[in-house]
Symmetry: C2
Subunit: 313 residues, 2 copies
């Protein structure tokens, strides 16, 4: 197969785009896709300060790399979740990536933020699933880091496969309020919060993997051990089968949703929530008197205290 | 496992309903499901004359059987499509079913309705896919038979798997006008037409197969040979995998769509079409001067004539 742009020997074949690319043209294609996504959704400007949440995986490191390449002022943020060897290896990859390029990296260690706040500990003590605990902790510490560092935007590496799987899940249960809110740009819900953007939302997992490989990015290949059996993976598998039978299915599903389908759900978000208040414990925005994170911390504290003193006689 | 209703030994286990049933209780469950679907969607009343489109497969024969059992006045309609041995064997099953129960069966033979109107001939001459030709011919002859016989309702055996696959296809492409119209009851679009209903729309393929087996219905097991490779089967396969990972997925997908999701698309059907006119060739309702069926017949006639006389010199 020949490169669709320059007719050189193609190194990668993208069935969804019915195109093939040599290495330089593929890197150009990838950058242009990110550029267009940023422009089409007004994600950020070169003047803004971007905080990139990096996990050590291919998507977030590819995102950091391409953002810098496109001239954005992007700082990395790594959340050390304390998920055993997986977290150790992820952190090493992120640190090596930043060191080699002389980049600023902020690291938040959950275990240092409060006793028992590492993901496995929270999951065990509160009997939440690890993924639910992780999601809530991520939201809180990402927001906090963005506010503390006076960033304008928080960027995450969610790719097309992630977003299409989330969309499929929302559609299978017809969660109309989630469908109304699923966008690649989330405006801040409180003056303290920052905008959240997903510049890779139309690039597939395969496409970011190829980009990372071609750019020589050394990333952690293993999946988070908690992901095994997650519903999200079942949705991804179903979409991959549909994609194999009809290339371009995922991209059309996502793109047409954002272009036309989502309009049907507009104006339906649960605005009955009202405006957020301020958490009386930590001062962050909250939907009640105390924010969800502080509630979680209080729950962890009380359950840990009970475990130490034993049940009351 | 024990029967959820009477505690006898269960013969069938329905994971989607988290229930098991012995044979008598399963038959009762199935009838109740059909009764409820008919009542909930105001599909038909016992006074109305129902025409049931029967293909010889499990779904349509189970539907005819259960409608009679529930006290409806249901006449069968079989469309002989001329798809070789498959059509011959299907017709035999339908005729045997009707004969054994002393039922009225109407048979429309496509080959007798006009030269070259059997499905394979239309597909070959017009270069349409067999499924597209078949769909259009079915619509026309079902409507015509319902009008000619002065029926009030046309019932088809579409099951949950069929409807969920169609819904998934509509969602993957965000075809909002199709999403607005996909209902188990379609009111007539013209005074001449009759209401169309799908009483099995919430019963899975497996559930109708079990019903047919328990009722001793002898049906044609083979799929239509033209169905191989059809997109619909890819959608069904994807949904079956989601169902296996999380039983009840298909039912929730369909039911929640009808209950809440579809509202978002309401008022969006392409009403710009205006009211249908009357076909100047056959007198049936038409969206232009000539109805889609008569256009097809004209195309078949002209292409056949050209094939006989050869290309003009």
């Amino acid at each position: 197969m020949k490169c669709t742009r320059c007719r050189a020997k193609a190194e990668v074949h993208l069935r969804a785009h019915n195109a093939g690319f040599c290495r330089p043209c593929y890197l150009g294609f990838f950058r242009r896709q990110v550029e267009r996504a940023i422009a089409a959704e007004c994600m950020c400007t070169p003047e803004e300060r971007v905080l990139v949440a990096v996990s050590g995986g291919k998507d977030s490191l590819a995102l950091w790399d391409v953002l810098l390449d496109l001239g954005y002022r992007a700082t990395g943020l790594y959340l050390a979740q304390g998920i055993g060897g997986y977290s150790t290896r992820s952190q090493e990859k992120v640190e090596a990536f930043a060191r080699a390029r002389g980049l600023t990296l902020r690291i938040v260690e959950l275990g240092m933020e409060g006793p028992g706040l590492a993901v496995p500990d929270v999951a065990a003590v509160t009997r939440r699933s690890a993924c639910s605990a992780c999601g809530m902790l991520k939201r809180h510490f990402f927001d906090e880091a963005a506010i503390a560092g006076e960033f304008d935007v928080l960027a995450t590496g969610h790719n097309l496969d992630d977003e299409a799987a989330r969309l499929l899940g929302n559609v299978l249960r017809w969660q109309v309020d989630h469908l109304a809110r699923q966008r690649p740009v989330l405006p801040p819900t409180h003056p303290k919060f920052v905008r959240k953007v997903k510049p890779l939302h139309l690039l597939s997992e395969y496409e970011t993997a190829v980009y990372a490989f071609m750019r020589g990015i050394d990333y952690v290949v293993e999946e988070c051990p908690n992901a095994a059996g997650a519903t999200q993976l079942v949705y991804k598998d179903a979409l991959n089968r549909l994609e194999a039978a009809s290339p371009g299915t995922k991209l059309a599903f996502m793109r047409e949703f954002l272009r036309t389908g989502q309009r049907a759900f507009a104006g339906r978000p649960a605005e009955a929530q009202g405006a957020p208040q301020t958490c009386t414990r930590c001062g962050m925005p909250a939907w009640g008197e105390v924010c969800a994170f502080c509630k979680l911390v209080a729950e962890v504290e009380s359950k840990r205290a009970r475990a130490v003193t034993g049940p009351a006689a």
